[in-house]
Amino acid sequence: MADTPNHDRQDDYATFVSLLARYDQQIRRFIAMLMHSSDAVDDVMQETAIECWNKFETFTGQGDPDEPEEFVRWANVIARYKVLSWQRDRARDRLVFQEELVHLLADTVHDEWDRLESERQAVQACLQKLPPRQRQLVLSVHSPGQSVADVARQTGQKPRRLYTVLNGLRKQLLLCVQDRITVQASQ
């Protein structure tokens, strides 16, 4: 530690913060992909960020402009293990993925990153193509602090009916997203 001058650590910190600020959302998305519930994503993200800082010396890329996402790849390795340890702590809760599946999912996310990213970007345009009321519905159930049960109660609908509608709308969105990236790919 004595070899590391204090000001280096401060420089590192500035670099780290700017990288994290830039890529926070991508890391968060990666974490969310490995967990079926969005509730714990913030917690795991926080633990991942702390661990990234603790291990930042091992990150060798230092933000190479030709490799803008190498930080994400490096951080995602840490994120993967943070997801695993979070799941392990809750292994008694049977609604968490097994370790083997988390690894398989993480590998698939890496392999399919570009496709998933293009699909994600197409979602906004596809939401715009839905009739206004359907768009409102989809957005409202995914709004912060809202759930399908809440929306069902507020609109006086049966949750089961709402799920049916939602699943149909999501299916529609997935098809739209797929169409859009197919068109983009062929252009």
Binding site: R29, A32, M33, H36, S37, S38, R94, L95, F97, Q98, E100, L101, L104, L105, T108, V109, E112, L116, E119, R120, V123, Q124, L127, P131, R133, Q134, R135, Q136, L137, V138, L139, S140, H142, S143, P144, Q146, S147, V148, V151, Q154, T155, K158, R160, R161, Y163, T164, V165, L166, N167, G168, L169, R170, K171, Q172, L173, L174, V177
Partner: protein
């Protein structure tokens, strides 16, 4: 009774999955790379929507005092300004209704009951099962088609493709995949000649029998599958126990997981478990319904943007409190107002769309549409319980003044469309209630079709259209996209102009001036999707509207 793994993904992401289903999903994902990708794509979509919602929520919170929710505006109680129809009118129509009710019970109740106790009602009640749900059914030429919810009588049921779920009155339910040929024998028994069948038998229905290949399979509890083709017949117990009577296995009991051929030494069909379960069929059906409905939803958008639109009431998603919204460009100016005991019920896409039920007398939706028009094309979907009244209203201008339309159904099932030509003239009309002709106000002509509805069509959605082509001097009427009546407008009955003014859906606002007899005109049934156009659609355009809006399972 379990869903396929990919159908569990949304449930997992919505946080409403059971532990057992979660375990199944996880297990399947471990072994199936495609399923993993499907899960990731769905999760990706959920996240993207969530991000978008959070972004918009934050934006709307900072931009205004909005509560950040994207819920449709909550239904407000009708304000004083929203009630365009004064109380005295409601009282007036109420009075007319009382008088007319009296006439109804005193005058022609007897003849109506005679008419309604015909064979069709008896036939409907003499079945053994109901067709609970069907998907992509392709009935054979010999088979008269059944629609979902209909009672199935004793006898043959044949379809070339598709899946049907049948609930027997004993409580057993079977899913049958086509091509299928079966005989419904009784509440407790079915004979399978060809097809793939899965029977679920609750304790109350223990003893339910499936006959196949000269063998009787008697259920002793829960679930089994039978597959019969022209070469072989196999049976497998999925859960529980069955007994086999007759044939080469006479007296054999089979338990969970056991499979036998009824015709050969070895079972040949290896896909018995793949027959859809009730739950799987339900999910598939809901998916098909949802995408069908979504197609319709986007069609309504383009209809609402038509140049020739007078008003359009899709009903679904357009009921705000007691207001039935017009989605055409004139907007709230032509909104409808619910008056009386109108019920909002399932429309022609069950659980997804809504319709208005006018079956309680006094039910009505009032609107006002000003302006002059050059033609009328009216279309709507109706689901009629009974033609209780002599005339049963679809869309009726109040009073009946010059240029105003009346669209209704006579109690013999004939469609009627008319426009008042000269309301100052008096004409004599023969009615079945009075010996001598009744004086009727105004010169008008009613264009009737042959009867197109009878009691056997209860609970079925039908598409009706009437086209009043003033320039072409022609009135055309359609049922389910097919022309059922066409007449020339005689010169004497050509009105100067067309207008609507005050009008009602599902009832009539004001009785004939000198005769209260026909004032009870509420439609005993449901109306879904009322479209009023200022143009004369041709047969092709009407057929296109039918095709766009038809319920799942319609040809």
């Amino acid at each position: 009774m379990t869903a396929a793994p990919h159908e569990l993904i949304d449930a997992a992401l919505d946080g409403r999955i059971s532990e057992a289903d979660f375990a199944r999903l996880q297990d399947a994902m471990l072994h199936d790379a495609e399923l993993r990708l499907a899960y990731l794509r769905a999760n990706n979509l959920h996240q993207a929507i969530r991000e978008q919602a959070a972004f918009l929520s934050a934006a709307s919170q900072s931009a205004s005092d909005d509560n950040g929710s994207f819920l449709p505006t909550p239904a407000l109680p009708p304000s004083a300004t929203a009630i365009r129809w004064p109380v005295k009118l409601a009282l007036a129509t109420g009075l007319a209704f009382c008088i007319a009710s009296l006439a109804y019970f005193a005058g022609w109740n007897a003849s109506t009951s005679n008419r309604l106790t015909g064979n069709s009602t008896e036939t409907l009640l003499s079945g053994h099962a109901t067709l609970r749900r069907s998907l992509n059914i392709n009935w054979t030429d010999q088979q008269s088609p059944f629609q979902d919810g209909q009672v199935l009588p004793q006898g043959k049921l044949q379809f070339a493709a598709g899946v049907a779920e049948i609930d027997f009155f004993c409580g057993a339910s079977v899913v049958i995949e086509g091509p299928a040929d079966l005989d419904i024998v009784s509440d407790w028994e079915v004979t399978l000649h060809t097809g793939r069948l899965r029977a679920s038998v609750p304790p109350a229905a223990r003893g339910f029998k499936v006959n196949a290949a000269e063998t009787q399979i008697v259920d002793l509890g829960t679930e089994f599958a039978v597959v019969v083709s022209d070469r072989n017949a196999d049976v497998q117990v999925i859960d529980g126990e069955i007994r086999i009577d007759g044939g080469q296995l006479d007296g054999t009991h089979l338990l969970t997981g056991q499979r036998r051929s009824l015709t050969h030494d070895q079972p040949t069909d290896s896909a018995l478990e793949s027959i859809l379960t009730t739950k799987q069929l339900q999910l598939k059906y809901q998916d098909a319904l949802a995408s069908h409905w979504l197609r319709w939803q986007s069609a309504t958008q383009s209809i609402a943007a038509r140049d020739d639109l007078i008003a359009y009431y899709p009903i679904t998603s357009c009921i705000q409190g007691r207001t039935v919204q017009n989605v055409g460009p004139t907007g709230s100016l032509n909104d409808g107002q619910i008056v009386g005991p109108v019920q909002v019920d399932d429309g022609r896409f069950p659980a997804l769309s809504s319709a208005l039920d006018f079956s309680s007398p006094g039910s009505r939706v009032r609107t006002r549409i000003d302006g002059e028009f050059s033609a009328f094309s009216f279309t709507c979907w109706v689901n009629i319980n009974r033609l209780d009244n002599l005339y049963n209203a679809l869309f009726m201008a109040d009073g009946y003044e010059n240029g105003e339309p009346h669209w209704q159904i006579r109690n013999d099932g004939s469609l009627m469309f008319s426009v008042m030509v000269d309301d100052t003239q008096e004409i004599k009309v023969n009615t079945r209630f009075e010996d001598k002709p009744v004086t009727d106000a105004g010169l008008h002509r009613v264009y009737f079709t042959k009867p197109v509805w009878n009691d056997s069509m209860r609970d079925r959605w039908i598409h009706l259209a009437a086209v009043y082509d003033l320039d072409g001097r022609k009135v055309s009427q359609y049922v389910n996209g097919e022309l059922v009546g066409e007449e020339t407008i005689p010169q004497k009955f050509v009105p100067q102009t067309l207008r609507i003014g005050g009008a009602e859906l599902g009832n009539w606002g004001q009785p004939f001036r000198n005769s209260p007899w026909f004032a009870v005109r509420n439609l005993n049934g449901k109306i879904d999707d009322m479209l009023l156009l200022d143009s004369a659609l041709d047969a092709q355009a009407i057929r296109a509207l039918y095709q766009l809006g038809k319920p799942l399972g319609y040809e």
